[in-house]
């Protein structure tokens, strides 16, 4: 009896193949990140709209999709946001199955640390909202926090001692590259054309509707256009002269050298500007502040490397002496109320915008794509997206997300 090898390196096959650029598509999506890929995937899978092109100026996952710290959770502040992110959190399991691709969802739970009375009150209110909506979330005392996160300093030695924690068991970590590859595989299998290295240089209109996009691979005409370019969304909208309440800012992240597994949950602290988790390789992946000035670069700086080391060592003194191996940066497109903009028929018929996700763009990717696909396929705004219209900023009806417990900088 011969034993078949379960995995044959010689039979490795591409997940998806490049397609020739056609001059016309029903739907063109600008941005080959998770949001654009998910929208294309759901357009083809759910709505049978397969005449779709996805344009990516670099390579898929070049932007925020491959630069985030991979944390997923649903403990937002307001009901409309919690509902959306909760559905998004539940999608990882079904997507893993549906795409037949291991997204490596590690359901380890997240712990937010509070360092003041005000933070504890914010935790109580947030936990009430979460529990009311059926999302698991509970308040922990410092001792319980230390049991979850070994090495956490809960003494009053800290400049801002830990008062309480907000534990959110449904959260965790997802391998962000796998999401990009899995969605690309799924979208391409349903007939979506993915064009990498295709830079959008301009957008053509006839005054009332978008007629096509000018790209480095020639002009591509379309009936419907989706701008899902993550941090670059504001720059793409500027090609049409559209002003948005969006500030693109760089946010930096870094990893230490690998350590034996000891950190079994994601933890974060608003006061110290730290969120950290241990990757499957053993590195501590940790993220930091945003640079204050609007820009479209991916520049990392030594300034935040130093800050991050100080903050991590303050909270977890045992990490002293551990070295950072890599630092990188990505873009966060910040809105004034920390909630996204999902809009259709924006100035032109069948022009759709999915932007302003700030640093929440990764965890929301698949669910945003699902609803944007509904919106683009029908032209009608789905009920779920009513809270995320652009006009809320012109009517002074900001979302209450700024009261969330994860406060990182002066933008929140």
């Amino acid at each position: 009896m011969t034993v078949k090898p379960s995995f044959n390196w010689l039979r490795l096959r591409r997940l998806w193949r490049p397609a020739p650029v056609r001059r016309h598509y029903d739907v063109v999506i600008i941005g080959g990140g998770i949001h654009g890929l998910a929208t294309a995937y759901y357009l083809a899978r759910t709505h049978g709209i397969r005449d779709v092109a996805l344009l990516e100026s670099h390579y898929i996952g070049f932007g925020g999709s491959g630069r985030n710290t991979a944390i997923v959770r649903a403990n937002q502040r307001t009901a409309e946001n919690v509902r959306l992110y909760d559905e998004g959190l539940k999608l990882w399991r079904t997507l893993t199955d549906e795409l037949d691709f291991n997204l490596m969802f590690f359901n380890c739970g997240t712990l937010n640390l509070g360092h003041s009375e005000a933070a504890v009150n914010a935790f109580r209110m947030a936990a009430s909202t979460h529990n009311h909506l059926g999302v698991k979330s509970e308040l922990l005392d410092p001792q319980q926090c230390a049991e979850l996160i070994p090495g956490l300093d809960i003494s009053d030695r800290l400049a801002f001692p830990i008062h309480a924690g907000l534990y959110h068991p449904p959260g965790g970590v997802v391998r962000h590259d796998a999401v990009v590859w899995g969605l690309a595989k799924g979208a391409a299998a349903h007939g979506v054309h993915i064009h990498q290295g295709c830079e959008v240089q301009g957008i053509d209109t006839d005054g009332s509707r978008v007629t096509g996009v000018r790209t480095s691979l020639g002009t591509i005409r379309c009936n419907r256009l989706g701008i899902m370019a993550g941090g670059y969304g504001a720059a793409v909208a500027a090609m049409l002269g559209i002003e948005l309440p969006i500030h693109p800012l760089t946010i930096q992240a870094m990893v230490t050298h690998p350590l034996k597994p000891f950190l079994h949950h994601v933890f974060s602290s608003g006061a110290y500007h730290v969120y950290a988790n241990q990757t499957l390789k053993g590195e501590i992946a940790t993220g930091a502040h945003m640079d204050p000035q609007v820009n479209y670069t991916n520049d990392a700086t030594a300034y935040y490397l130093k800050h991050q080391a100080e903050a991590l060592v303050e909270l977890m003194p045992a990490l002293r002496g551990v070295r950072f191996m890599r630092i990188w940066a990505g873009l966060a497109d910040m809105t004034p109320d920390m909630a996204p903009i999902m809009e259709g028929h924006l100035g032109y018929d069948h022009l759709y915008l999915d932007a302003g996700w700030g640093y929440f763009g990764f965890k929301s990717g698949p669910v945003a794509g699902k609803y944007m696909a509904d919106y683009m396929a029908t032209g009608e705004r789905p009920e779920m997206l009513k809270a995320f219209q652009l006009k809320r900023f012109l009517e002074g009806r900001y979302s209450g997300e700024t009261a969330a417990v994860m406060k990182y900088g002066h933008w929140d």
Binding site: Q201, A235, A237, H247, P248, T297, D299, T301
Partner: protein, 89 residues
């Protein structure tokens, strides 16, 4: 990669000495008869193009950890660098 800005008093200094004050928007509109929509457009809505054709952005900075002066400069959001006259830094 960090970069430097030119303070009119202190000269070129590291960007982390400064506080970003946002895009120059011209004078604040008169409050009398200002609609909510016009108010929010002026305070929050921006156009921030990117690319070779995009003009540098005129913006405000505050030398918080230096001499304390507010000033405007022109910077390219695509490269982060200050644009002085015709050439770069």
């Amino acid at each position: 990669m960090t970069f430097r800005l030119t303070c009119p008093v202190c000269g070129k200094r590291d960007v982390y000495e400064f506080t970003f004050g946002g895009q120059e928007r011209g004078p604040r509109p008169e409050q009398d008869e200002l609609s909510a929509e016009e108010h929010f457009r002026w305070t929050q809505f921006r156009m921030i193009p990117c690319g070779a054709q995009a003009p540098p952005q005129e913006e405000w900075w505050y030398h918080a950890q230096g001499c304390g002066v507010w000033f405007t400069t022109r910077r390219d959001p695509g490269t982060n660098l200050e644009v002085v006259g015709d050439g770069d830094e």
